[in-house]
Symmetry: C2
Subunit: 78 residues, 2 copies
Amino acid sequence: MARVIVDVMPKPEILDPQGQAIARALPSLGFDNVTSVRQGKRFEIEVDGGDPLDVANRAAEAMLANPVIEDFTVRIED
Amino acid sequence: MARVIVDVMPKPEILDPQGQAIARALPSLGFDNVTSVRQGKRFEIEVDGGDPLDVANRAAEAMLANPVIEDFTVRIED
């Protein structure tokens, strides 16, 4: 049983309204030195059998990420 | 300027319906060996000035995470 982390982020050229909304709201809470926020998703998946990284890569491609607008990385949890 | 990663995950004892929905859907795409999926959020924030980890910790506590139902970790991006 391997635990794999899949990080999914909007591609750099894609607008990220959620991140922008947070970045705009933080100064009102006193966080003046946060200059940029990008929001993505993080999945922790458990894979039982097969090549865990390969399974995670294919699952990310097929369902966890939208490859048109998102990049993803896959790694075994430390 | 430091780039800080904030990972936010539902606490282990909290139900994660998004993750469960994905876990239930994956077998229909041929992913029979994914036994568990937990879904959280990942933020990439840029901090200009101050102690970046301290700023990120406070921002996570105040806005990025809901500490009642979510755990978060903060680290400088490699």
